[in-house]
Each structure stands twice: as C-alpha cells, then as structure tokens.
Symmetry: C2
Subunit: 583 residues, 2 copies
C-alpha cells in the first residue's frame, strides 16, 4: 500500500499526495491515496465471496473460542480503521473542493479546517487503543493458526497486515517531524515556484540540500529496517517493497532497447498530420467537454458515482469509491489535452470506482501502489486510447463534435496521435521518450541519496543524462532540473512509478487480451465494459490483497514486471505509424 504509507509518512494528513498534485504543473495523479475501496472478493485468486463467507459463518455456528475471538478482535480493528478511512474521505472532498469550487478568499480558513481534520485523523491513526486492538487481533489469529479454515479470509488478513503497517509507520513519525515535513514542503514549494520562474538553480539549490536531508530522515525514521538504504525507504512510500536495486536492474534492461527503438523511429517516416487537427478556434471547449464526457461514459465511468469537472491542474479525487471526481481542462490551443487527459483520469477513476465493496473503508480495498494506479491510467491513455482500434471508435465522435475534421480518417487520426518527438519536458513527452526522463531522475535521486551526486552538480548531471537517455540538449534549469514539483514536495522516489506503471499497463493489457480475444473489435465499437470488468475483477477488486506489485503481477499475468513485453508493445505501437520494418 504505497499510497497509504506515503500519506502516513509525509504528512500527518492523508492528503499528502493531493497536496503535491495541487501544486503540480504536471498531471501528477491525485487519486485519493488512503481511504476507501470496493467490490466482491477477487475471483482471480481463486477467492470468491462465497468462499469467504462460510469461514465467518463457521465461527458463529460452532467454532472454537480462539476463532470467534479472532473475528471479534479483527472487527474491533476494522471499526477503528473505518473511522479513519471515512475521515480521510472527508479530507479528499476538501481537496477536490479547494481545487474546483472554493472561492479564492477562503484559503486561510480552508487551511485551518484541513489541519483540524488532519489532527483528528492523526490522533486516531496513532491511538494506543488501535495498537492494542491490533495486538489482540494478531494474537488471536496466531492462536487460531492451527485451525482450518482460518478464522479470517485472505482479504481480512491483508487488511490486518496493512492496518498494522500503517499504524507502525504513523507511530514512528513524531508530531515534531511531521510538522517539520509539512512546513518544509510549504516553504520549498514557494522557493521552487520562484526559482523556476526566474530560471535560477542557485535559488533552489540550498533548499534541495534541506529537502534531501529531511526526506532521508523522514523515510528512515518511519522505516527503521531500511535505515542503511534511505532511497529504498523513500521508494517504499510510493511503491512498497520496491528497491532501487530492482529498479536499476529493470531500467538497465530497458535503456538500450528503448534507445534502439528511438533510433529506429527517428530513422522512420514521420506521419503526415492534417492542419485541421491542430489547435484553433474551431475547438470550442464546450464541445471538447461534451466529447470527453461521451468518451468517459463509453469507458464505463459511472456518473451516478462520480463527476467530471474542470480544474487548472487536472486530477482524480473525491471522497469515496461511490463519489469519484475527475477533473480535466480544455483549451482551444491544445485540443487533444482534454480528451487524452480525460481518458487518463478515467483510468484512475475506474480503479477507484472498482474498489472492493465488500471491504469498503478497509485497507485491503486500497489501491496497491502508485505504479499500480498509474498502470490503470496509462493502460487506458497509452495502450487503449492511442490504439488504431480506439481511433475507429473516436473518429465518428470527433466528426460529430467537430465537423471541420470530417475528412480525417481513423488511421490518419491514429498516426497523428502517435507522433514521437523527444523533448525537454517530461509531462509533454510521448510514451517512447518518457522513460528516458525517468532514468535521468532516478539516477540523480540515487546519487543525491547516496552522496555520489552533489546538489551543485545536479544541472550538469541532468544535462549529461538527458543527452544520453533522451537525446536532447538542456539549455537551462527551468526546462531542466527545475521543471518538476516532486522534490519540493519531498516526493523522492516517486518518479520510477511512472515507468513501472507504464510497464505494468502493457503487461496487464496482454493478459486481458488473452482473456478477451475480441478486445480490438470491442474497442472499435466503443464497447469498453468487458475490459473494465476484467480490470475490475483482476486488479481493482483485488486492491491491496498482495503485498507488492510483483506479487500482483505474478498472480494476474504469471510473471513479474516484464521488460521484453514492454519493448515489444512499444515497437508494435509505433511500427505502423513510422513504417518500421517487420522484426
């Protein structure tokens, strides 16, 4: 449960991640990090609701004392954890409202209200009574270990496991440290905004020193087992169980193959893009919003359990799985941002709407991790939403909403939306050059954490790495190492999630394709619900049943994170667009 731990650790409020997103100039995900979840126990693990219920039923009809007491003790934990989750849901609404509805004059009052709520949440998270309830449940479960069936099903045991993990993480962070972290984030954000605006690395560098040292301290304090591996402790906040070593191994395998593919594409024939697909006054934002809503509806986003609104910095948030709120933005100058952003955010939103309803407000219904959440948005945005099949669905809708595009065919649209253009800015990158941006940041973060890269050297290293991984020259700090909000938000270790998420997306889609042989034909017709349902059963409802992303991937696809499949997918994606030779 990376998100949960990140929140528990970074700030005394669950809104840590949302905070980052609020300030982001990017489309950093801001799904709720902590609280609620939904549906029937995942069939993918062989578990089903029917299977779990008897376990409980047995106990109430004639099980031995330890069993009954394990259930009672478990329920006592659940009661406390649900209260916390509900209050975190309230915090989720405050954040959404702040970014979409709140009048400008109420920032101070809202800040005070969020702090009051965060204090309530923190008090409950660190309540010694919760610790005692956890101990009692663990003891009872341990005492009943010999009994068959287990007094708790696997989902219940996972909730207990993660409730313990969150409790320990939160207890280890003192109020003083939490306050210092929050205060540094607020200060650093202002310094970063000003430095980026002034294109002045030196204005930010001293702050980065403090940020690195505080990030280390906070990560290691909450994760004493990782005391000698501070970067692993940081990564664990977003992707639990993941390590820098494992990431380095995966990235090392990826780097040369992506480089080769980028070279191949650079030597290929770029697609012709008709001028009518560029921005302009024809791209009325109301019509863009209508198109986005039509796409979201087709994708299976349930508007009876969510909303779609406009925000300056798009995100997905909201207070509950039954109330998931997507935001997006539309401009006439960049007409594809609206629909692409909607597809991306709907991907996040479907994960949220699909939380396991049987375990609502319990840890096992939480999304597994940052990368897992990102996999859901990227599966829809890059894998489905940029496919040829999708553009057969989208083209007639586009003609309806924007008659000036009447001559554009699905293949032309598909090619136009799959251009590759390596550049300086991560958030503007196509999905082929995107991982290079992550490699740059991963290398530098590792160096900052282990001391092999000095803060003063970051601009130079950034430029070298960008040349190596992306093939571009960095002219200045503003378009280089000052472009991201993450470090000022103390989110060291967050970047790898983007690429891990993209790889996971490809891997999941491969498994889905095996289960849904007609997938392309369904997508062409705008029938997205079979895919949504497959994801719901195999990922969304599974929630945090497994303790890591690799475990989930093995259970769903038969293997851990897969480099080969990822590169093959990318090549197949761009081959028809750039006329690459068959391989």
């Amino acid at each position: 449960m990376g998100p949960r731990s990140a929140a528990a650790f970074l700030l005394p409020t669950p809104a840590a991640a949302l905070h980052i997103a609020t300030r982001s100039t990017t489309r950093l995900v801001a799904h709720r990090r902590t609280a609620l979840r939904s549906p029937l126990a995942g069939s993918r693990s062989g578990g089903s609701r029917a299977r779990h219920v008897p376990a409980t039923a047995t106990m109430t009809t004639g099980a031995p004392a330890p069993t009954a007491s394990a259930r009672d003790a478990y329920e006592a934990v659940c009661e406390r954890v649900r209260e916390i989750s509900r209050l975190e849901g309230v915090a989720g609404l405050l954040n959404w409202d702040e970014q979409t509805m709140m009048p400008e004059g109420s920032a101070a009052a809202r800040g005070a209200q969020k702090a009051a709520l965060a204090a309530c949440v923190h008090d409950k998270q660190t309540d010694a009574a919760l610790g005692a309830a956890l101990e009692a449940a663990e003891a009872a479960l341990s005492a009943a270990a010999a009994s068959e069936p287990s007094p708790l099903n696997e989902y219940e045991r996972a909730s207990l496991r993660d409730a313990r993990r969150s409790y320990d993480l939160t207890r280890r962070t003192s109020r003083e440290l939490a306050a210092r972290v929050a205060s540094l984030q607020a200060e650093a954000h202002g310094v970063w905004v000003a430095a980026r605006k002034a294109n002045d690395w030196d204005a930010f560098a001293p702050m980065l020193e403090r940020l690195v040292s505080t990030a280390k301290e906070a990560a290691v304090t909450s994760r004493p087992a990782l005391a000698d591996r501070p970067y692993d402790a940081c990564i664990d906040m977003f992707e639990r169980g993941m390590t820098a070593a494992r990431l380095a191994e995966v990235f090392a395998a990826l780097k040369p193959r992506l480089k080769a593919l980028l070279d191949e594409v650079a030597a290929g024939t770029p697609p012709d893009v008709p001028a009518c697909l560029d921005g302009g006054p024809e791209w009325d934002v109301e019509r863009q919003a209508a198109l986005s809503k039509a796409v979201a509806t087709a994708m299976g986003f349930e508007f009876s359990k969510g909303r779609l609104d406009v925000a300056v910095h798009p995100f997905t948030g909201g207070p509950a799985p039954t109330d998931v709120r997507i935001t997006t933005r539309y401009s006439t100058g960049n007409p594809w941002e609206g629909v692409s952003g909607t597809v991306h955010e709907v991907g996040h939103a479907l994960y949220e709407q699909g939380r396991n309803a049987t375990y609502v407000d319990l840890p096992v219904a939480d999304p597994l991790s940052m990368a897992c959440h990102e996999s859901q948005s990227l599966l829809w945005e890059f894998c489905v939403g940029q496919s040829r099949a999708f553009h057969k669905f989208l083209t007639p809708l586009l003609h309806d909403h924007f008659p000036h595009t009447a001559d554009v065919t699905p293949d032309v649209l598909h090619a136009a939306r799959n251009r590759v253009a390596p550049g300086l800015i991560r958030v503007d990158a196509d999905c082929l050059s995107y991982p290079g941006h992550i490699f740059v940041r991963f290398d530098i973060e590792q160096g900052l954490m282990d001391g092999s890269v000095a803060v003063a050297d970051v601009p130079r290293v950034w430029a070298e790495k960008m040349r190596e991984y992306v093939g571009v020259e960095v002219p200045d700090a503003a378009s280089g190492c000052l472009q991201d909000v993450h470090w000022s938000g103390l989110a060291f270790g967050y970047f790898p999630s983007y690429t891990v998420g993209a790889m996971m997306a490809v891997q999941l889609l491969g498994a889905a394709r095996q289960a849904l042989p007609d997938l392309d034909a369904q997508v062409e017709k705008g029938e997205f619900v079979p895919l949504r349902e497959w994801l719901r059963v195999n990922v969304h409802e599974v929630g945090s049943l497994y303790a890591s992303l690799d475990e989930l991937l093995v259970a769903v696809t038969g293997r851990p994170l897969d480099v080969d499949g990822y590169v093959e997918f990318l090549r197949a994606k761009y081959a028809p667009v750039y006329g690459l030779a068959d391989k």
Copy 2:
C-alpha cells in the same frame, strides 16, 4: 446562541439545522448553525478594537498574576473551541456538497463520513479537558474580577459564556439519546414524506406522538432548569432566552391588528398585474441566474468569499465566513422565485460574511439566533427587496435581461410584487398573512407540549385556527397540518422565529433609516453597501455578544421587540398598493 445550542442538542452533529433544510420542501434557512464568524469589535456597543487591545496589552506589561492567568486560561479554552468550530465548518461543506454536487450513488458513504466527523466533533465538545479548561478560565476570571480593566474584553467574556453553555448542553445529552434523536429524525422524515404524499394524517399521527415525547425529553434533558416548561426548552434551542409566555404576549398584541389590516387590504383595490410578469418561456433560467447574480453583487455579496449555485431546495451554507455558499433555483413557470430567493439568501449570506473576523471560530462570532438570522434575510427580501425604491433599481435590470418586460414601470412592478393573497401554504404566503400561519403552529405546538391538544385533534384544531388567523378553509391534511417538515425534524419551537425575525427586520431597518437618511435614494441607485455596512457593524459583527435577541434589539434600536412599529410598517407597505386611506 440559539443555533449553536440547537445543534448541540438535536444531534451529535452541528449540521442538525442543515439536515432539516435538506429535507425541506420549503426555503428553511440552512445557514451554518455553529461555527465561524468575523470583524472588528462592534462600535455599536461603544466597544472598539482599539479599546479592547489595551486590556490585553496591560496584562502583558505588568498586570497581576490572576490577570495574566485569566488570559492564558481563556486562550486554552479558545484553542479547543476553534478546533471544534473548524470541524463544524468541514461538516458545513459536506452538507453543501451533498445538496449541490454529490452524485446520487454516494448517499451511504456520505452518511458514514458525516457520522464519523460528527463523532469527532462530539468527542471534542464533551471532552472533560474542555470542561477543565472552562473551569480554570472561569476561576481565573472570577479571581481577577476586582481588577480594572478586566483581563478579558466583553467579546472574550461572551465567548467564554457561550463556550460554557455549549459544553453543558452537549454534556447533558447522552450518546444514547443523541443517537435516538438522530434515528427518530431519519425514520420520521420518511414517514412524513409518505404521509404527506398520501394525504394521510393517520399514517403520521403515531409518529407525531413519539416526536413530541422525544422532543420534550431531549429539550428538558439538555436544559434541566426548564424541566417544568418543555416548550420553553424547545424554543430555547432556536431562540435562546425566549419563552412561550413572551411569544404569546407579542402574538396576542399582533393578532387583532394584523387581522384588521388584512381586512382593510381585502376591501382595498388589488393592483393590476401585466401578463408579461407571469411565468412563461421568455423567462430563460440562464438570464434569471444572471439577473440574480447582478442583484447579489449590488447587495454587496462578496464573490471572492462565496458562491452562488443552484439547488433543488435553496439554502445558504458553506464552510466558513470566507466561503459562504448561496443556493437558489430558477424556473420559467415562477420567474420571481429566483430573484426573491436570491435576495433572501443573500441576506443570510451577508450575516455570515460579516461575522466578526477578530473572533473567528469563537462563539461570540456566531450568529445570535434563528430569528436574528431570519431577520437578516427578511430585512432584505421583504423590507428592502419589496420596496418602491428597490423596484426603481430593479426595473432597468429587468428590462435588460428580459426585453419582453420593457413596458413595465417600477411602480407597476412594485405593486405586482406586493400582492396579498391569504392561502393554505405557509411558504407561499405573502408577508401580511404569513404571521397567521405561525400563530396556528405556535398554538398547536404549545398544546401538544402541555397536553391540551391531542395528536388526534391536530387536523381539527389546524382547520379552526387557519380559519381564525388566515381566513381560509383547510380541505385536507396535505395542504394543512402535514405541509411542514419541521415536526418530523424534531424542530418544535422553530416556527416562531420566522415571525420574530420579520418583526426584528422591520425594527432594525427603522434604526438603519435613522442612521442613513438617504437610504431610499441609495437603494434606488442600487447602492446597498451603506446598509450592508450598517448591518455589519450593528448586527453581524456583534454576533453573540448579547445573550438574547431582546438585549441586542435594546442595544441597537433602544427597545425590545416592537409590535407597533411592525404593524405600522406593514400598513405603510401595502397602503399604496391597495389604495388604503391615510391613517
């Protein structure tokens, strides 16, 4: 602090009143009942910020120990009370969102989240540590009583007084009783909706028995000093310090004079109303919304500290004085509801935006009472918004937004909007027949509380009283004693606030007129800010400084609630419209 006490008593959540409004088919006020407030210490009492500050300054420079300790002890209370207020502000946002933004599928999750937040609030309200802090502050203040100046200014002393009052009220209500009250409200609401729909008194009667008995129990439990006067205890929830005896005295003086005025109007010449002012497709709702926004802006509603949205059941709510959210509704069939409703809600909203900012989140910045809040909406809706001067302002705006009204003059518009038509439904009543509806309900509530009216007799008594006070025949329960949401919400004692508020509005406007001799000329020109400022200084910022409405009225207008002035105002209002003789 009627609202605060009502909330503290009715439900473990401050949202009690908002609950009622949510369910209301009427335009029951749903301003936030409990939390925040704003501005400089009221000049009206001779107090000023400058005057108060030295009192504090003195202490820090060389006052005796008891003084310094009184301030510390006071601050310790404030710290706790502010936390509660902030959480109540969050509850205010949840309520607003529920009625304007929340998708229909999230009612259950929202209910659980509201309950979790309410439990946090209740825990803090009844925390023994708050009791100890109050005792310490009271003891220190008492010990310092001989010192001059007092260690606390009058606003601070009022906050302490009301913090004590709220603490005692909340502590006296057990969790069991609070839960029973909440559960009965929920159950009764459903029964009432069904009974009203089916026009079936007998379906509601047994529930009313339970409601009366529970209302008595709850009111008396929280107010043991009123144990032998349960209706007074109920009234005290909304209008503190008010009694049935005082209301009976005021109403007794009003009744014959209103009756005489109604007769006079009935014998007068009703105004001609041009057909173009009736509903129809010309009354585009978007244009109505634009007109309402223009009016709200002119009235001085600060959009940087609030919003204006649409809701099925209009109310004013929101999380803070810097974030006051008005809702209204527009229909082509009833084009005047939108602008009238907006003027009414802006009246409430200005009170909220005008809370004393110096004492934000402290009890003294709370609105004084239900009637006082209602006085603010009615002052604007009935006294200002239905005046001849206002229609000189409104008419050109109306022509701009609705060209089909181009031939309507201010006087014709004024007359059209001042028709008197006694009818069956309270919420549709003109302001001359409105008090009659209140007399009916007051008499019946008194009877239900003292046992002189049996539940079974309510329909008969209702019909008799409506004949007597309003002059109409009641055909059935749906348009009679089943029309109001209040009883099912346990809001016995609430109705009188409407008429007391109307009287207070007239009395305040009289005082404002003395201070602002050019008021009519200002209103004609749409210059409402001088009146808003007068209200801000004399009412809004004064908040809960005084312990009762009569005390406030004496301070601002020189006399308690005034029957004569009220009747004179009404006669003067209708005389030109109905051609009444000079008196």
